[in-house]
């Protein structure tokens, strides 16, 4: 009858054929760079934080002019203050979570802290996407109530728009905004599927295995 205890008996007493590395071999290894998933997660997360922070600075001059002429200046200043405060909170949380990842933790705790670091970044992105969508909807609703004024302003600031007859402008402009919104969300979702697929599938799976043991 074969069982695990037979293997255990032999496991200790029997020499397994294992490679033998010299002092020099091991010493060499210290000079190499790590390629652990924590490093990748860190780099990707920093990239995401930077991307969204930088993106907020890049509002085209012309759309600023339009927003200001439409009387939205104060609203945007307030929105920006709130936005950057929330950014600061997220970056702080990310840093704190990242610091708590230690390889000397238990297997479960290590996985837990990696997952919660990722979750912070995920929430950050969810916040950004929903804030953008809400802002897009809000601004467009506001525009809609003042579409005559908008048409005049657009025609002044963008050359192409003057050629569009006023009747079709309204539908063209708002359909354009909707398509832009959908594309943005689609791209972001695709990006996340890929990142999560590559980096976290195995981790998530193992974490669930451990959790199952505790129930």
């Amino acid at each position: 009858m074969v069982n695990l205890d037979l293997l255990k008996q032999k496991w200790q007493s029997v020499e397994q054929e294992l490679p033998k590395l010299s002092y020099g071999d091991i010493h060499q290894m210290l000079l190499k760079k790590s390629s652990s998933i924590v490093k990748w997660i860190f780099l990707i997360s920093i990239g995401e934080l930077l991307f969204w922070t930088v993106l907020a600075f890049f509002v085209p001059e012309s759309s600023k002019t339009i927003n200001e002429s439409m009387g939205l200046k104060t609203v945007f200043v307030v929105v920006n203050i709130v936005h950057y405060t929330i950014f600061a909170v997220f970056i702080y949380l990310f840093y704190k979570n990242y610091q708590s990842i230690t390889v000397t933790d238990t297997i479960k705790d290590l996985m837990g802290s990696i997952l919660s670091t990722r979750k912070t970044v995920k929430n950050f992105v969810i916040y950004n996407v929903s804030a953008s969508i809400l802002l897009l909807i809000g601004v467009n609703l506001f525009y809609y109530t003042k579409k005559d004024q908008l048409y005049t302003l657009m025609a002044e600031n963008y050359e192409g728009y003057g050629a569009i007859p006023k009747e079709s402008f309204t539908s063209l402009f708002f359909i354009g905004q909707i398509i832009f919104g959908i594309l943005l969300v689609g791209l972001i979702l695709l990006f996340y599927r890929i990142i999560y697929g590559i980096l976290l599938k195995r981790l998530q799976h193992n974490y669930t295995e451990l959790e199952k043991m505790e129930t």
Partner: protein, 164 residues
């Protein structure tokens, strides 16, 4: 970095390298991946070494870091080779009780262990290394009772696989 620290670390790892090799062999399928994982474990051990205070044995501390690296931190190299270029571990059984069938059975047992999922494998590995359930539960981060229950289930599962 501190030369003295470096020296004591390499010495310790050289003495205890078998633990890491055994983990690499359980979690990879070819010598390329084996070396790759060994490399990553070494780096992780080295990074954590300054915080190793010596209140536990170096080897005990190593189990945790090495298993954490194998299970969670290590990214399988892209060119994952499907073929298994390792002969299943060979157990040289002393001539007195040499028995063909026993050796064959041990090999079967080993490959059955290898086919377990990452977490179960860690549990079995620590069991084979003769760690107490307390140590096992402290390494995995689950309760002692649950690791015992799980271990019994795995034993049962392996029995049915090998003795149909």
């Amino acid at each position: 970095m501190n030369k003295e620290l470096e020296h004591s670390f390499v010495k310790e790892l050289e003495t205890n390298q078998n633990i890491v090799h055994k983990i690499c062999r359980l979690y990879t399928n070819n010598s390329h991946a084996h070396n790759d994982l060994f490399q990553e474990i070494t780096i992780q051990l080295w990074k954590a070494y300054p915080k190793f205070r010596g209140d536990s044995k170096f080897s005990t501390w190593m189990y945790r870091v090495a298993l954490n690296t194998a299970i969670t931190l290590y990214r399988k190299s892209k060119r994952r080779v499907a073929t298994q270029d390792f002969e299943a571990v060979s157990f040289k059984i002393s001539s007195i009780d040499y028995d063909d069938t026993v050796e064959e059975q041990l090999k079967l047992m080993y490959s059955a262990v290898k086919s377990l999922n990452d977490i179960d494998k860690a549990l079995v590995f620590l069991y084979l290394e003769d760690k107490s359930y307390r140590e096992i539960s402290e390494t995995l981060g689950i309760s002692e009772v649950n690791s015992r229950v799980k271990m019994n289930r795995i034993k049962g599962k392996l029995r049915t696989v090998l003795n149909p």
